[in-house]
Structures are given as C-alpha cells and as structure tokens.
C-alpha cells in the first residue's frame, strides 16, 4: 500500500490561533508554577533570585524564551525530587521516572497524571486499522524506571488493549558498545529479540512498540505480517531518511504494517510524526504536543530559531501543571520544519544526536 500524503497548506489563521493558545497556556502555567499556593519549591525559590518577576513579565511564549535561560539538566540529577512537587500535588505520592541510557546518576522527573494525559491525546492520532482496539500489544524496549513503560501500557489500555513487555536495558548496551564488546551487545540483543519472538509466537499480538534496530532484528527473524502484526509504533534512536524509508518500504512492507515513528522522552511526552514517504524524501518531521510541550530548533549562540529547513539544536519546553521545564537543550539536532495543518506550529525533522556529523555517537543496538 502506497502512502498517500495529502498536502494541505496550513493557514495563517491556524498558526495564529495555535500561537494564541500557546500564549494563554504559558500564562496559565506561569501563574501556576510561580504562585505559592500551587508552585513547587524549586521554581518559587529560583524566582526569588532573578531580576525579573515571571508572574508579571512572562505572559507569552516569546517572553518565556526571552526571559528564561536554558534549563540546567543537572537540577534534575542533583536536587531531591521533592523540590519539584507543586503545592497542588503535595498530598499525592509521585511516580519517579528516569531518562534514557546514560550511566551514572540519571536525570529524574516526577509525575502523577501527565503520562496518561499525553498518551490519551496521542491515541487519537493512531488509526484503528493498524492499531486495532480491544486486542494485544507488545512493547520491546526500555522499561525499568522509565515513563515509557507505564505510558505504553496506558496507551494500549486507552484503546481497549492489554500489553506484554520485554525489557531492554539501554544503559548496559551503551556500556557494552563504549567498551567495544560488540559480541556481547549482539548477544544481548539476540536475547531480547528471542524473548519478543516467543511472545509473538505464543500470543496474539497486533501492535508493537519498539526501537528501530529491534524492529529490524525482529523482522529478520520472523515475517511480522504473517505473525499478525498490523502496526508498529517506533522510537528511541535516530532514523535518517534512508533508514526510515527502509523500515517503511521493506521491514513494514510498504504499508502492510502501519509504521508510526515517534519522538519523545521522559521530559516531553510524545511528538507525533507528519506523514512521510517518497513525496518528502522520507524526511520525518515531528510535532510536539503543543501547548503542553514546545519544540524549537535553535541556534544556541543566539538562542533564536534557525531558518526553516535549516539545522539547529533541539530545545524543549514542557508546560504542564506537574512539570515546568523551560528551554531545555536536548542532545539532538534537527531541521526546522514549517507548521502543519494537524499541528500548526514548528516541527523538528531528521533528528540525530547533536554533533553526529562531527563525532561518533554511541547509540547502540537498541
């Protein structure tokens, strides 16, 4: 099945409307996080040390970008979790989620309902043909302390499905690769793939969540179409245009399996993808779940967005009642893309590790 991409121009009105929504949301979030009755200790204390008052001087997203410096990720590593608890959530125990595959003390984000809200919203973007309701999913990927595990299960549940899990520890894979133990890394991947194939063989699975490399490895060992897989929801590592094309055309057999690449992490939630195919040279653009999260592609020297269709560093701002994280510089770079009718704000395309063209980045087998 050939992917049809219907190109509908987004209108100025749509863009303006979305920008207004974002500004209103920014105002609401600033009020929430910087008011003593609802904010968390970290931001309330931080504001006292600044030469501006967010409550008075930040009413729009542009003002947020202008006033707030880059978010320092060490804060999420070094400070106790409780400093991030908004007053409004003080009486509820929180989930602790950790970020990706680094070694050492991980960054942690606490949360309550955000992952449910984010993934319920995302569910609306999935099509029932490829992600049938009232069936079974399998997640093959990092579980453990990650938000993703609960989020995927919630997403499956949201669609009336239950989800099986096979874990992969990305920290161990990174360590194996960094120490050039490639045989061990391959053996570990085989171990993960075998577990997944066992589930696929013995249970009825129609949807998979996994990483690109694991998807490829699964497809090398088993005909996924014949195994009953109808949809694959995929994220976690770089997919350049050629890789995306290969996964779409060959691994997912040109649409027999719905291929839904995503960009997301513990700090953001989940960005949906613009349809891609030969019409746009398989360049995958992702759009953040605005206004709850905003992605920009910026020039880090000026702090301003780069021109459309130019490369820059990915900057994430998260704006929920549970978590306020302005201007966090992701470890990724991307191409800035134009707004889209389904998401009339900037997109980020062809994401790859920051500096990937200059240095070797350990991304691993996962």
């Amino acid at each position: 099945m050939r992917l049809e991409i219907v190109s509908v121009m987004v209108s100025e009105e749509q863009i303006k409307h979305a920008a207004n929504d974002l500004d209103q949301h920014v105002e609401e979030m600033i009020n929430w996080h910087f008011s003593p009755e609802s904010g968390c200790p970290f931001w309330l204390n931080w504001a006292k040390e600044q030469d501006f008052n967010p409550l008075e001087e930040v009413r729009t997203f542009a003002e947020l970008c202008d006033k707030f410096p880059y978010f320092e990720d060490e804060w999420l590593r070094d400070l106790p979790n409780k400093v991030w608890v908004p007053q409004a959530f003080a009486d509820r125990p929180f989930n602790i989620f950790e970020t990706g595959g680094t070694t050492g003390m991980p960054k942690q984000r606490i949360g309550w309902d955000d992952f449910r809200i984010d993934y319920t919203a995302f569910s609306k973007t999935l099509n029932d043909d490829h992600f049938p309701r009232d069936h079974y999913w399998l997640m093959v990927g990092p579980t453990g302390p990650r938000r993703l595990r609960l989020a995927i299960e919630h997403l499956a549940n949201e669609r009336g499905c239950s989800c099986y899990f096979v874990d992969l520890d990305p920290r161990w894979v990174k360590r194996l690769i960094a120490t050039q133990q490639f045989d061990q890394a391959r053996a570990y991947m085989d171990h993960v793939v075998e577990q997944a194939l066992t589930i696929i063989k013995n249970r009825e699975i129609s949807a998979l969540f996994t990483t690109p490399k694991l998807l490829e490895a699964l497809a090398e060992r088993r005909d996924l179409v014949r195994a009953g897989i109808k949809g694959v929801f995929c994220g976690g590592t770089t997919m350049d245009r050629q890789y995306a094309r290969f996964l779409q055309e060959e691994v997912c057999e040109g649409g027999k399996i719905g291929f839904v690449p995503t960009y997301g992490n513990t700090l953001m939630g989940l960005a949906r993808n613009h349809p891609f195919g030969p019409e746009n040279d398989y360049s995958i653009a992702y759009y953040a779940p605005q206004p709850r999260a905003v992605l920009r592609v910026i020039d880090t020297d000026s702090g301003k967005p780069v021109e459309y269709n130019h490369w820059g560093r990915v900057e994430l701002t998260t704006l929920t009642k549970e978590f306020f994280m302005p201007r966090f510089l992701e470890r990724d770079e991307a191409i800035r893309r134009e707004p889209w009718t389904e998401a009339p704000w900037d997109g980020v395309a062809e994401i790859r590790p920051f500096g990937a063209m200059e240095k070797k980045i350990v991304e691993g087998v996962y």
Binding site: Q242, R245, V251, D281
Partner: protein, 478 residues
C-alpha cells in the same frame, strides 16, 4: 564537463538508489566525480537472506560457460563502453581511466597497467582456475564429483556468497575475487570509499557478457555494514592495515589481506654483485607507485647496507611527481592528504630513534611530502637501518618506501617475519632449501625476479578455490 554520475548500490544485481549518498572526490581539487548510494546495513542483511537465489542463478551455467563469460567480460572491461550511474550513462575505457586516476591519484600509466592486469586475469581465467585447483577438470565443479589424478574427488561450496571489504589503494586488487564467478559463488562487496569505479565496471562487464546480475552485490556502506558482510558471508576477504586485519586474524571464514611486508633478500654468495640487482630493487620498491602489498618494503643483506641504501637513494631520491598523463610518472597522489601527512610524520618520528637515517634525503632536494600537480604526494624514501629491530626496518607505507638492513644470512629467515613475497638473490643450494621450507613466505622468487612479478597460475595470497570449496569423501553406489 559531464555531470558526476550517481553509482547506485546493486542489490543482488538490482540498482538501488539510497537516500544517503557519499561523494567520491577528485584528489586534487576536491571536486565531486561521483556520488555513491550508501546503504544501511539492514539492506545487506535482508539481501543476504535471498543470496541462495544468486547462487542458483550462477549454478545454471557450466564452469566452461562462466569461463567464456569471464573472457568476454575481460574484453568488455578493457575495450568497451559500460554503464556507470543510475541513469545508464556509459563510460568508455578512457573515461574510466581518467576518472579513476582523478580520484585515486594513480597516474594514467599505472591505471592502464592495472587495467591490463585485470584484463589478463579475466581472459586467462582458465589458467587461473587450473592453478587454484591444481589441474582439476572444471566439469567436476559442475557435477560436484569426479576424478583427479586417478583419485575420486568431490567438492562442495563452503558458502553461498563471497563477502568482500575492498580497499581503495590499487585497482588490480580486484583480480583476487574474479575467480569467484566461474567458481559459481556470488560476490557481496563493500567497495573502497575512493575506488568504486573498478568493481562497478567489472560487475557491468560480467553482466554485459551474460553473467546473471543477481551474482553481484555492490553495497557502499558503513563499518556496521562491512562487519555484517564479514559476519554473515561464511567466507569473506578483507583488506586493510594491520589494526584492521588483526581483528579478524584466526577467523577461518575471513581471509585477511593486510600489509605484505614483501622483501628482497641477497645471499652471501651474491652480495658482491649487488649493483647488478639495483634495477630489480628499484622496480620492486617503486612499481605501481609503491602501493601494492607485493612492493618490497625491505632489502635484507648480509653487508653493504649503507652502500645499497645510498645507491637506491641516488636512483629513487630525485623522483618527483609528474603530470597524471605523463607516461614516466612513478608517484601516485593521495586521495586523502591526511594519510600522506600521517605517513610523513610517522617516518620522521621513528627516525628520531637512533640507528637509522633517510638515505634518499641527500638526493631529494626538498621534503618528503610535497604538493604538486594539484595534489599531495610522498616522494620515495629509503631508510638505512643498523638493525632489523629498528621501528622503521619492517614497515610498509602507501608510497615507494623500503628499509635496507644488514642481517647475517644465517639469521635472515628467523628475523624477517611473515612476508608475502620474497625475492631471494642467491644461487646457494642450502639457502634455497631453507627458503623453500620456510612457512612464513607466501610467494618465493628465487633469482632476479621482481617482487612485483606474480604468476596467474599460482595463488600468491591465499587460494580462493580452497577457501570457497571443501573436498569431502564420497561413495556412489553403481
């Protein structure tokens, strides 16, 4: 000027244009001479699952038919226009020569010699197979069993495909894999980054001659893709420097082609005549731009090392880069100037250790590394070493380079280490016997034969037939 062609990957013969493309650059001005489809490793792994079809396509031909196809391919390779690029553009032999020269730095005359070597290999494939199989009737390969020298023989292939991770240094290196086709084994190749031209042209020549296109996998790819070719083809050849080849040493499925450390040895009985062998030593060191593993990289003598080094310095030191189309050109430019810088600096660094000097320096009128003819070159370098233990005594570089070292004849074989080609200048029967019995020498020339002289009817670097086929015992009921 023609637009630079795009060379697609060949996925078991089918052209495939990747969205990732690399550039093949002119070694002089960096202009783009071609773009190459770079495939992700998954493409190769996927195609290898179907490689049985490629083998089946070759098996439909008799060996005799494939030998004839090889002969015709040789003629096409040398004389005909052949497709290059996704749009079916044609490339004449002269265009091939000039383009390859512009991206590899090899002067035209050397490309021409390499073309002739490849042509010779293809048009004498029957002789080569005869040498590889020690005279086996080729019909035995078609039937799978037969007789040889009165004994029953049966051979089975050890792999469905021959994996190849190719270098960029010299086009004639491709002659090593050519027998795979008449031996009915498809090839799965990662071409050298700067030299896609020769393998692509060879594959097109085979296809034009009637060989099934399915027999050819041409996959410009990354390190992971190369590693997958080596891992997933049960038999593979890799070319590279010592660090690359060390990684696969001891792996029976991977035949490693690394530095040759080829040498000229002069025995006690001939050392007084060393001046008679100067031409041979010069040719062994400098032919083909000093880029081959069969170029001599050390001259081992029982005495007169300084005198020989000085004489070689006088002959080689003045050699300068010439225009690419100059028929007298001896030196090759570097496609990667950083490689030239590294070699130059490695030699200078090791010269800081006492016991060695650059015997070419007095005759070179300038530095070793030069910019000339729009490119970067290394001029010939002869290092006189007092001991074979000196770090420069047993080295190989991608330029005319050799050490001259004094070692008593009685100690030579113990000290030279693994050597691809030895040209031994001796008439002494006992020394000849020692040389013949030495297991570390891959090819032995006894008498005044350049290390560069190879015999097509004898494998000099691994036996491809023995690599791709295994003999088994067989009993057939009447």
């Amino acid at each position: 000027m023609k637009q630079a062609p795009h060379l697609p990957s060949l996925r078991l013969g089918k052209p495939y244009c990747s969205l990732n493309q690399s550039k093949v650059l002119d070694y002089r001005d960096g202009s783009v001479r071609a773009t190459l489809s770079q495939v992700n490793p998954g493409v190769i792994r996927r195609d290898l699952k179907e490689v049985g079809q490629a083998r089946a396509a070759l098996q439909k031909f008799s060996t005799a038919e494939l030998l004839e196809i090889s002969r015709q391919a040789g003629e096409f390779f040398l004389h005909e226009e052949l497709p290059v690029g996704e749009a079916g553009e044609l490339q004449s032999p002269q265009e091939y020569l000039e383009t390859l020269s512009s991206t590899s730095g090899l002067p035209h005359i050397m490309v021409r010699r390499n073309m002739e070597k490849i042509h010779h290999a293809l048009t004498h494939m029957d002789t080569i197979l005869n040498g590889l199989t020690r005279g086996l009737d080729v019909e035995v390969l078609d039937r799978g069993y037969g007789e040889q020298s009165g004994s029953p023989v049966c051979f089975h292939p050890t792999t469905k495909a021959l994996g190849l991770v190719m270098p960029s240094n010299s086009p004639a290196v491709n002659s090593l894999w050519l027998p795979a086709i008449p031996l009915k084994i498809p090839v799965i190749m990662k071409p050298g980054k700067d030299e896609p031209w020769t393998p692509y042209r060879l594959m097109q020549a085979f296809i034009k001659a009637g060989c099934p296109a399915k027999a050819f996998g041409f996959y410009p790819t990354d390190h992971e893709g190369a590693a997958d070719i080596l891992r997933l083809c049960d038999r593979a050849l890799i070319f590279g420097d010592k660090s690359t080849t060390d990684q696969y040493a001891g792996n029976p499925g991977v035949q490693v082609h690394g530095p040759g450390f080829s040498k000229v040895l002069i025995g006690d009985d001939e050392i007084e005549n060393w001046q008679d062998y100067l031409d041979l030593m010069v040719a062994s060191i400098s032919d083909n731009g000093g880029r081959s593993c069969i170029n001599a990289s050390a001259i081992i003598v029982p005495k007169y090392a300084k005198e020989i080094a000085d004489a070689l310095g006088q002959r080689l030191g003045p050699i300068k880069p010439l225009a690419m189309n100059d028929p007298n050109a001896v030196l090759s430019g570097f496609a990667n100037p950083k490689m030239a810088e590294w070699i130059d600096s490695a030699i200078d660094t090791d010269l800081l250790e006492s016991g060695a000097y650059d015997a070419t320096a007095p005759y070179r009128d300038g530095p070793r590394q030069v910019k000339a003819e729009g490119g970067t070159y290394l001029r010939p370098t002869i290092i006189a070493c007092e001991s074979i233990e000196h770090p420069l005594a047993n080295r190989e570089f991608l330029c005319p380079y050799a050490s001259v070292v004094e070692v008593p004849q009685s100690e030579m074989l113990d000290k030279i280490g693994p050597t691809l080609v030895v040209s031994a200048l001796t008439k002494c029967e006992s020394f000849k016997r020692e040389l013949l019995m030495d297991p570390r020498i891959e090819r032995l020339n006894v008498g005044p034969i350049s290390t560069m002289k190879i015999s097509w009817d004898q494998p000099h670097e691994g036996n491809l037939f023995e690599f791709l086929y295994k003999r088994r015992s067989i009993g057939l009921a009447a």
